[in-house]
């Protein structure tokens, strides 16, 4: 039986980076340079958490998780922990979450539009990580 990771833990973060680098080569990420911080509100234990992913020339170079202020990023998406968890469990589409206001995006929407499919690819990889929420 494969190992299960606590959501947003350092182990989960490392596994996320490993899988993203392995499954999403630069050409699959359209060789883009961008970054995104997800801000998790109403987390278990009340602390605000974040997940930050950075991509340089298409290579996923950085995945950060933690509590408190999120690193600066080109896009900032905020929402409830449970909303993000549902997206990671593939129970809710990220676009539906945005269109219903469950997630709030900050950043250049015109640019974000070009990245929507890439974000879906990232979410798909993350949803494959055996995770304990």
């Amino acid at each position: 039986m494969s190992e299960t990771y606590a959501y947003l833990s350092t182990e989960w973060r490392d596994e996320a980076l490993r899988r993203l680098q392995a499954e999403l080569p630069p050409e699959k990420m359209n060789n883009i340079t961008t970054s995104m911080s997800n801000i998790y509100k109403n987390c278990p234990g009340d602390a605000e958490k974040f997940l930050m992913i950075e991509c340089i020339d298409g290579k996923v170079t950085r995945v950060e998780t933690g509590e408190g202020d999120a690193p600066d990023a080109e896009f900032r998406i905020s929402g409830d922990y449970e909303t993000f968890a549902k997206i990671s469990r593939a129970e809710l589409g990220s676009q539906k979450a945005l269109f219903t206001g469950k997630l709030k995006l900050k950043g250049n929407m015109a640019k974000a539009l070009k990245l929507a499919s890439l974000a879906d690819r990232i979410n798909k990889v993350l949803s494959q990580i055996p995770t304990k929420y």
């Binding site: 206001g101 995006l105 929407m109 015109a110």
Partner: protein, 407 residues
């Protein structure tokens, strides 16, 4: 890919210079940020076709940022001179709706949390004018509580009155394109070609010719190419084409519109489909004489009321004043800038052309004249882009002024 401005292009417009002029006026009025929403404002600043509801944020210095409907943001970014970071989108998403996107940008990206904010309000005959709606104003006000709201559309209206070289060249080109439409229409009508032809078909023949010549749109809001035949020529100054067939013994009015780099070609030409009666010919000769009289009197220093007076005096002397619609022109600028002449909104009747507006050199109007005898089923229209000169005017469509009888 952002468009690179080229000062050597004959159609070049110094858009960054326009922004600096606006910012200078904002500074003079103590305005901290300008929130533009009108179509004419988008055209004037972005120099790109911006048909969807958009908001342009002009900071005290630096480039403005436009927010437009997400489906069109990438295309707009490709056509305007602003770079990708300054062309943004709103969408029905959390944090990205119009109110959130615009107000977050002002507060967080520009770091302006209070002060005086300019916006655009007023009234227009033009449905697509784009003044801020009551709903928008209310929501923006709630989201920007520290701001004093100043209606300041006159800043852009004032700056846009006198046309620069590139704008004038664009209008010349748009007008020559309209002439191609008229040539094609005339060729299609003559030698009995009109028989069985509908108003919509002649509109389409002209549209194709103008598109081939470089027009991107029959831009007009009131029916694209406006056509009237027979009794419809006497119905007034707005005639979207119908499926009515053009017939012998009737008048025909062709009002074609072209758009070239946001400049709006607009020329109306009239015919009598033979055989014409002496009474029809009399009306036609009156109208041509009236138009020529008005064109002869456009110059810097003239005003809408002085020209209307000259026109009505001429009409009275010819015995056709009862058929002459008072008023000779409407305003014109890049796409979205139509109808009202001048920047003044507090004339005798607010937001209508000030009849005492004094024309200046390099101002443009559409000479727009209408003649109608509805009871006789006859009317004519003249429209043409006019550049005001120190002495006289430049009539941009070169299609000869006449009302020919064609068979």
């Amino acid at each position: 890919m952002t468009r690179i401005l080229n000062p050597n292009d004959p159609y070049y417009i110094d858009n960054p210079g326009r922004v600096k002029t606006i910012q200078k006026e904002m500074h003079a009025r103590g305005i901290d940020v300008y929130l533009g929403s009108r179509v004419r404002t988008m055209s004037f600043i972005l120099d790109a076709f911006c048909p969807w509801r958009s908001y342009i944020i002009i900071p005290p210095e630096g480039d403005p940022t436009v927010f437009t409907f997400v489906i069109d943001a990438i295309r707009l970014g490709d056509e305007t001179w602003l770079d990708e970071d300054h062309v943004r989108a709103y969408a029905p998403m959390g944090g990205m709706d119009q109110i959130s996107a615009v107000t977050d940008y002002i507060k967080e990206d520009l770091g302006i949390g209070k002060g005086r904010i300019a916006y655009e309000d007023g009234i227009s005959t033009y449905t697509a004018e784009g003044n801020l709606t009551h709903w928008e104003f209310t929501r923006f006000s709630e989201a920007l509580p520290g701001f004093e709201w100043i209606n300041a559309h006159d800043i852009i209206d004032s700056i846009s009155i006198i046309k620069d070289r590139g704008t004038i060249e664009r209008f010349r080109k748009a007008s020559l394109i309209v002439d191609e439409g008229h040539k094609a229409a005339r060729a299609a009508l003559e030698n009995g070609g009109y028989k069985g032809m509908t108003e919509t078909v002649i509109a389409g023949i002209a549209a194709l010719a103008m598109r081939k010549a470089g027009s991107v749109s029959e831009w007009n809001f009131a029916g694209l190419n406006e056509i009237s035949s027979g009794y419809r020529t006497g119905l007034g100054a707005c005639t979207p084409p119908t499926n009515r067939e053009i017939q012998a013994g009737e008048p025909l009015m062709l009002d074609f519109h072209s758009m070239f780099q946001l400049a709006l070609g607009d020329h109306s030409h009239n015919y009598l489909i033979g055989p014409a009666t002496p009474r029809q010919r009399w009306h036609a000769d009156n109208f041509v004489a009236l138009v020529q009289t008005v064109l002869d009197n456009y110059r810097a220093g003239a005003s809408p009321s002085s020209l209307a007076e000259i026109m009505m005096d001429c009409a009275e002397s010819r015995g056709c004043a009862d058929f002459t619609v008072p008023g000779c022109e409407h305003g014109i600028g890049l796409f979205g800038d139509e109808w009202r002449i001048g920047a003044k909104a507090d004339g005798p009747i607010p937001y209508w052309t000030d009849p005492d507006h004094v024309y200046r050199e390099n101002e443009m109007v559409v000479c727009a004249m209408q003649y109608a005898s509805p009871s006789e089923g006859i009317g004519f229209r003249y429209e043409n882009d006019i550049l005001i000169l120190k002495e006289g005017c430049e009539v941009m469509s070169k299609f000869p002024l006449a009302i020919e009888e064609i068979n």
